[in-house]
Subunit: 362 residues, 4 copies
Amino acid sequence: MPKKLRLAVNTGGGDAPGLNAVLRALTLSALNRGYEVVGIRKGYLGLLDTTQLVPLTFDSVRGITRLGGSILGTNNRGNPLGIRVEENGQERYVDVSDQAVKNFHRLGFDGLIAIGGDGSLKIAAGLAKKGIPIIAVPKTIDNDLASTVMTFGFDTAVATATEAIDKLHSTAESHDRVMVVEVMGRNCGWIALSSGIAGGADVILLPEIPYTIERVCQKIMDREASGRHFSIVVCAEGAAPLGGRMSLLEEAHDGHDARLGGVAPVVAKQIELRTGKESRSIVLGHLQRGGQPTPFDRLLSLRFGATAVRMASEGKWGHMVTYSPSGMGMVTLEEAIAEPGKVPVDCDTVRTARELGVSFGD
Amino acid sequence: MPKKLRLAVNTGGGDAPGLNAVLRALTLSALNRGYEVVGIRKGYLGLLDTTQLVPLTFDSVRGITRLGGSILGTNNRGNPLGIRVEENGQERYVDVSDQAVKNFHRLGFDGLIAIGGDGSLKIAAGLAKKGIPIIAVPKTIDNDLASTVMTFGFDTAVATATEAIDKLHSTAESHDRVMVVEVMGRNCGWIALSSGIAGGADVILLPEIPYTIERVCQKIMDREASGRHFSIVVCAEGAAPLGGRMSLLEEAHDGHDARLGGVAPVVAKQIELRTGKESRSIVLGHLQRGGQPTPFDRLLSLRFGATAVRMASEGKWGHMVTYSPSGMGMVTLEEAIAEPGKVPVDCDTVRTARELGVSFGD
Amino acid sequence: MPKKLRLAVNTGGGDAPGLNAVLRALTLSALNRGYEVVGIRKGYLGLLDTTQLVPLTFDSVRGITRLGGSILGTNNRGNPLGIRVEENGQERYVDVSDQAVKNFHRLGFDGLIAIGGDGSLKIAAGLAKKGIPIIAVPKTIDNDLASTVMTFGFDTAVATATEAIDKLHSTAESHDRVMVVEVMGRNCGWIALSSGIAGGADVILLPEIPYTIERVCQKIMDREASGRHFSIVVCAEGAAPLGGRMSLLEEAHDGHDARLGGVAPVVAKQIELRTGKESRSIVLGHLQRGGQPTPFDRLLSLRFGATAVRMASEGKWGHMVTYSPSGMGMVTLEEAIAEPGKVPVDCDTVRTARELGVSFGD
Amino acid sequence: MPKKLRLAVNTGGGDAPGLNAVLRALTLSALNRGYEVVGIRKGYLGLLDTTQLVPLTFDSVRGITRLGGSILGTNNRGNPLGIRVEENGQERYVDVSDQAVKNFHRLGFDGLIAIGGDGSLKIAAGLAKKGIPIIAVPKTIDNDLASTVMTFGFDTAVATATEAIDKLHSTAESHDRVMVVEVMGRNCGWIALSSGIAGGADVILLPEIPYTIERVCQKIMDREASGRHFSIVVCAEGAAPLGGRMSLLEEAHDGHDARLGGVAPVVAKQIELRTGKESRSIVLGHLQRGGQPTPFDRLLSLRFGATAVRMASEGKWGHMVTYSPSGMGMVTLEEAIAEPGKVPVDCDTVRTARELGVSFGD
């Protein structure tokens, strides 16, 4: 008779639409197998503080598939491999991972399902080496992991961004304006690319394709010349001007507190200075992290969650769940963090955008 | 036999969800009466340039009820009573209204239906005095006209703002943050009040209720003390600190280019400085002007449009259409612009908010 | 010092979007006044069964404004003034209201806030006469109460119906079909009228305006003749053919089990038989009762809830809360149930529909 | 210098969300290459009637990405390889394909891009053999083609179905009812499976997994026993009872006109008879074909359209465009129609559903 497992679950990093669906799938698949599941609040640090344990039951996951946020909370900045401590005005990092591992075993857990992004995956790999059986579920709405075709939350983020671009369209047009919309994506432009094409943007700026503001303005003026007196520019937060970001930021920004704005206000001002066209910007920011997951993301999240428990039942510790249309799969934790996901600059989607007439400012 | 009217229609000012529905209702009600309708692009200035005339037909308004924007465009900055002219580096204002009136009659129009906001209504009143038979349809998503219970576009703007607040909720919570959301409303806080209550805001800042940042922070810290480590602040763009806006803006803002931000970034920074809590802001801006009108706004817009033609058929020139639940009505153009709409500080809705525990920072 | 009230709350009848928002507002306004609130499950019968009592706290209403359904459940068919009992194959009705009243007082309640529709209001009036201090909150998504301008849930039902009509439009057109959409409204056609106009229906059938199928078909063939090869018919579930419903039902229906369909399938078949045009139907049914309330309905619900507690604090027992744009109000329970809400056949909205070219089949 | 192509485009079969986006991408990619594009109304038969030709321009595809329906119409029942003719009360099929091929060449077309489903693909294969250079774009919202990972419109259909299930949930619960929801999928259950899981259905009935009504009822009664007094059953229109569909249909249906209902009403009645629980049904039908495409479907549609023109530019006639996450691809027309898409009964998604506790009635 197979062992009835006692599983711990935690989540790390920022919010992502679909988190609750993952938790529901984890819990139902585990309980339906006769397993126990215990949620650990506060991420990995919850292992050091037993008041943070929450048994997950049929009732606690009822009806949560469609809710944004996470019933476990997602707030977690702590890394047990190096926790930040301030003493006498000085900060230092203390490794408390041995204590975490000890507690994990003392609490009778057979394995940990860790839902998290880049940072959490690295911690997971570290704790796995120290003897905690871990299965990771990737959580990054930027879709920036090469090892999985898609991550949950991405489709919802794209939908939110696309709807925003839709709304800005008619106003940009009626006011003869340039609207610059900043979407998420520090190192990876999938959200900007997908929402930009779906929303009918005229210019899309990605971290992967360095742009010059001159070519951006050229596109805007070309449209002007053909009687289109407005333009929509979608830029990733990590959009990269040729020659480096800082110098351009300095040009228009000059001491601007980054927390008050983003890249888009700068780009808008640069465009206005060069083209003389009224330009406005909006930074969508956290709007993209919240809200109901799309049906696509709900299904994907549920599949991630169910697969993680299936992998646990088969003893596939030390792996991260991955998705491809042909079915869920897995990679080792080391492979998972080896290679970031990037938009290949010659991929079919970029090519489609160019054929539709979109400029990447290059 | 009643005369078959030839009606002109123009729109002035910014975009508003429902504009197309008004145009469709105008056109269908007019054509079904055997009237003619001609759209004038570029607002009142279109009267000076006959290339801007567009006959409106059954086909031209087909399927547009649910579309944002306006098939006539809404771009209009010109006032024929004082059009801005630049000569030798100097600007002056020229009154070309006599020419506009002459053209209006020469083109054989029996009346003009003018859809517009505050500014447009004033021009309408001026042209009416010069002999153009005008019926006005109010267009202000801020709902800031005392003479009508509601204007079209307002419900959609509230819906957009509320959905944004919904999305920010889970993220604010999971990150233990204060989120400050700025919505439209320069002089009138209806959008902030309605979306703030519907979205479950903790603090709502209105132009009508002067606030102090200290009381705002008090509310946030009270929540902190009771275990709620996040807060949502909704502020109107015209939110008014006690003692005047400028001084507070200067405190945190200091030379900040207004086009790069708004009130919300300032408020967020002030909160962060005083409470030590991480605070973020988002300025929804034009998101609120675009997009599909809600079913409520579609119906309201269609009613405004149909009523305007009905009034024309009854010769009620010189009036603006108004809405109240008991039926559409009208006021004279003079009454229409006499009194701005404001949130009464002791109204039932404000009272409801206070009873729910919302702070107005007062 | 005013008394700290101990309030009971129950809900009766079917689901309505906004119920949870009413409960949240009731709870917060009560707790913020230092009152106690206890939810009674199973409607009035819950008064007979103390296992059905649920104290409502800040935590129990957290985040529920935007959720469909009701945290108290809404299932309630029992009337303590005449509860149905089956004995020896015979059914009879037993009055258990004295017991309910006794329990109410024994449990120390100062008043009952009863949220419910037509049937519940009648029970409320009955129990009020027996000495239970009651404030009623109307709950009918049909908007069929003359004493209040609008009831919560109606706007959401209209939005759901309008979105459905939107979706059917392109398909009706691409398939050259007649689509008949049945919406709620047994005795009152507000949902059909509002969604029909907002959704661009060609024919709208209401309980208030008797139609003949011949005139409906005439409209469809007129459209055909002018090159519009499709039509959208929106009918209320209580749409009333001239000469009575039964005969027409029999003509096309003939033994059809009513639970398998509704009015729309019959109307569709009648149209197909008479016009030769392919006709399809859809009965939206419960789709209109569920789902997230619109922001409009959330605000309205919160206002209803807060006002009910305000009225309790002022001792206004025996009244129902009402809404009008100028502010919340109240009527006595007797007035509340005296007059049903109907669409006035010559109201401005009906007139608008006719001017847009909509046929009512009359 | 590569030849400037003159392309014809037609669409066949039913409506699908994304059709307009495909047309926009086709047109923009073609015009940006200096090609000409001509839309042919009425599908293949439009080749026999030159009044059906519509040149596609930048203006004609402006802003249509987000619109449901198709600017070309989709109504097309004609097959030039065997067109139905009625003569003297007798019908026969006439092959007019030679004429269609002749016209195609006479009109100077270099190739035809045919957007269509199963039937259209077969005609395309036939016409390709007769010498028309064809590139096909698959159009089936059922996602029932084995040769492409996904087809456009499917994601939108799943979203519409999931939202409907969401709305039915709270009402099913508050009324203690069984709700049976019928979604599209005559031979292929992807829509039912995806929306059923995402919407939290308790039972999902697919064409691929024969069910018995007894096991369906068993699941419902198991839920009843554990205190869940409601259930949601999602069934594909082609859901297949073990032992054949007809007998079960006859049992409950008995002469019921299929156009008045579907499978769901029958299943609901069977459940009610066996469990004694009140059961209701809704047939979503055409709701799933209409409406705005989701951002996912918009992007997918644009990619399909752009790839088709790219293939034309490379002379890849006789192929159908396919999608996989690694990029767009192609198969020959023969391969395209060789194998229908089915839900593999042991696929990961079915397994996930079972692990979540969903019953397939098997």
